[in-house]
């Protein structure tokens, strides 16, 4: 299989964002928000977070303080939302799952409160 390489630092101008998995006002819609941190506890300002569930796809870039967020609904028939994390310094994507229900989800790449990441 074709190996992975880092997304690098310079992608924000190139990749569309889709914060709204569902539109404002959709029944049951809510925001999931969080921040991305590195192993020194510093925010990661150049990460891309993607979410996937049956209801749709979300994608956002972290801001200067590492914030990200998507507007979505709880997935039907599934107890998590699948997440990909890309950033400078990540040679492969990281995969995690946001357990439902949740409205806050920080992603800690490394360290004591490291997020649980998965592989297949």
């Amino acid at each position: 299989m074709t190996p992975s390489q880092t997304i690098g630092p310079f992608f924000a101008h190139a990749l569309f964002q889709n914060h709204h998995v569902v539109p404002e006002g959709a029944p049951g819609a809510f925001w999931i928000r969080g921040r991305v941190f590195d192993g020194a506890g510093e925010p990661v300002p150049d990460a891309m977070i993607e979410t996937w569930q049956e209801e749709g796809f979300g994608r956002c870039l972290t801001d200067a303080q590492g914030h990200w967020g998507v507007h979505t609904v709880a997935p039907a028939g599934c107890d998590f939302i699948a997440v990909s994390v890309f950033a400078r310094g990540l040679l492969r994507r990281l995969v995690t799952r946001i357990p439902m229900p949740a409205t806050d989800f920080d992603i800690v790449l490394q360290g004591e409160n490291e997020t649980t990441f998965y592989e297949y």
């Binding site: 390489q5 690098g8 709204h20 492969r92």
Partner: protein, 232 residues
């Protein structure tokens, strides 16, 4: 996320300094993909403009540099084509500079080139871009560090488990053996990221061509459930 250790880079690779504080230290938990992870977003023709595959058009004039064609085929690990799937690319201009406001490399921007393209693979997994050969550029990873010319590729495949972001390199580039990002991949995997010069697809009097085929991981399902995006 992929653990094909023959070909995949490790997460911690100190020669690429940015991995040191960003690579998770715990081993990821191995799971079977859930059924939702065996599906993925499906992007229709409406998400790709008619000129999105041609990075040399749409900005009011001819960009500077060497015009090239980059094409290939996307298949899965079982050799099945990955049809109608979104590919996004981005790259520097011919001078080695990204159209990104944080890129401080003292090389000129090109008002006729932003280095951003998209396309959908066709029914047989084929893709084709027209672009400008990107330039090498310096970075601060170590003394006198230069990235070899490369094109970033983002592929969705047909399922979440197939999602891939990677980089395509050019054959014969003297910077390839010096690049710690490429070197993070075990040696036998590195050629998979280097395109080949393709005389057959070269257009006489117009553009050289490079071929780069991409292999995504296989999925256990033949036909992932298709779900359109809600908005975009």
């Amino acid at each position: 996320m992929n653990t094909d250790t023959k070909y995949e880079p490790p997460l911690l690779w100190p020669a690429y300094g940015s991995t040191v504080l960003r690579a998770p230290k715990k081993t990821p938990i191995r799971v079977d993909p859930d059924k939702v992870e065996l599906t993925g977003p499906v992007f229709g023709q409406d998400t790709v403009g008619p000129l999105d595959h041609d990075l040399t058009q749409g900005l009011g004039g001819e960009p500077l540099g060497e015009r090239i064609i980059v094409h290939g085929r996307v298949t899965d690990g079982d050799g099945r084509p990955v049809p109608h799937s979104l590919i996004e690319i981005w790259q520097t201009n011919a001078a080695g500079r990204y159209s990104h406001d944080r890129d401080q490399h003292p090389a000129p921007l090109d008002p006729h080139f932003n280095g951003v393209g998209r396309c959908l693979t066709d029914g047989d997994g084929n893709y084709r871009f027209v672009t400008i050969r990107p330039g090498a550029y310096p970075w601060r990873n170590h003394h006198n560090a230069w990235r070899p010319a490369h094109i970033h590729f983002s592929l969705f495949g047909r399922a979440f488990v197939q999602r891939l972001i990677t980089q395509m390199y050019f054959p014969g580039d003297p910077l390839l053996p010096l690049d710690p990002i490429l070197a993070s991949i075990p040696e036998q995997g590195r050629p998979l990221l280097v395109a080949e010069f393709d005389l057959n697809e070269t257009v006489p009097q117009w553009a050289l061509a490079y071929r780069w085929d991409i292999i995504l991981r296989s999925t256990p399902t033949q036909k992932p459930v298709e779900k359109p995006m809600e908005d975009q």
